[in-house]
């Protein structure tokens, strides 16, 4: 079983790095789309089947938290799990992201193993492909 991923970050290099780290982590990725901000992400999501979104918070035009708000209001997209990925991981910021609908949180820089565990956890699938019942929310501190 493999999954379609959308990576949202305003830095082209960072998107490449995230994609590379997800690939080398061993996470079973099928399609990988990229977007430079929340608005571009919504456009990708409206046209493609995405299993999980990995999004930066600080971005121009539409930031990661605003993207969460848009997804929450959209009946079709609200169930897609979103992992926030950011440099500044204060407890309050994490709580705010979770309140607005994020399912996971990773602080940059991060290791391949960290992102893999969070990806499988928010999708609700074990690494050998079995579905879990309740995914809840997760941040890297749980590992």
């Amino acid at each position: 079983m493999s999954f379609n991923v959308l990576i949202v970050d305003d830095s082209n290099s960072m998107r490449s790095v995230i994609k590379k780290i997800v690939t080398i982590s061993g996470f079973k990725m099928d399609q990988c789309w990229e977007a430079g901000n929340g608005r571009e992400a919504l456009d990708v999501l409206s046209k493609n089947w995405v299993d999980v979104v990995i999004s930066d918070i600080n971005m121009p035009e539409m930031n990661g938290l605003e993207l969460l708000d848009h997804l929450k209001k959209n009946e079709t997209l609200k169930e897609i799990p979103v992992i926030m990925i950011t440099t500044e991981g204060s407890d309050n910021r994490m709580q705010e992201a979770f309140k607005r609908g994020a399912k996971g949180f990773v602080k940059k820089p991060f290791l391949p193993e960290e992102i893999k565990k969070i990806l499988y956890s928010v999708i609700g699938v074990s690494e050998n492909g079995e579905y879990k019942e309740d995914t809840g929310t997760v941040d890297e501190c749980d590992f």
């Binding site: 830095s11 082209n12 290099s13 960072m14 490449s16 790095v17 590379k20 600080n58 121009p60 950011t86 440099t87 500044e88 991981g89 204060s90 407890d91 309050n92 910021r93 602080k107 940059k108 820089p109 991060f110 290791l111």
Partner: protein, 150 residues
């Protein structure tokens, strides 16, 4: 003074973590002046305000870009170096602030990059307690970092 020492230690740990995890670069603190070629800067606001400048030699920036993106020397462009330098200062700042006080919310500006050369002197007499200056070396390439707190 105690606070300055603590800030310096936290900043150093943030730099080590970012460079080792993201760029696979292992830095050694040095006392040398740094003849830098480019600067990446970021401002932060919150319970404490300040700014961080990271001053790179071309060699250091190229090593970071090569390692981060896993590209060969011929594929390294000025745009990739700029992106990489901005991401570095962004991660250092975020990592430092989290170590400084993870219970508080800070806002980070969008990083700014400048092709600007000069000489960075690690610790000038009378630089003040609100300024922290550090320089590092890795495989013959140098970089400096200056953090000012208001």
């Amino acid at each position: 003074m105690e606070n300055t020492k603590k800030i310096q230690e936290l900043l150093m740990n943030a730099i080590f973590e970012v460079f080792e995890k993201m760029y696979f670069v292992f830095l050694e603190p040095v006392d040398e002046d740094v003849k830098y070629d480019m600067v990446a800067s970021i401002n932060f606001t919150g319970p404490v305000k300040g700014c961080i400048d990271v001053l790179f030699t071309r060699g250091m920036a190229e090593t970071m870009t090569r390692n981060m993106l896993n590209v060969d020397d011929n594929s390294i462009t000025d745009k990739l170096i700029e992106d990489c330098a901005k991401e570095a200062v962004n991660m250092i700042c975020g990592n430092f602030l989290q170590k400084y006080d993870s219970s508080k919310v800070f806002d980070l500006s969008i990083p700014v990059f400048k092709n600007k050369s000069g000489v960075f002197t690690k610790q000038e007499a009378g630089a003040g307690e609100n300024v922290c200056k550090l320089s590092f070396e890795s495989d013959g390439s140098l970089m400096g970092i200056e953090m000012s707190v208001c």
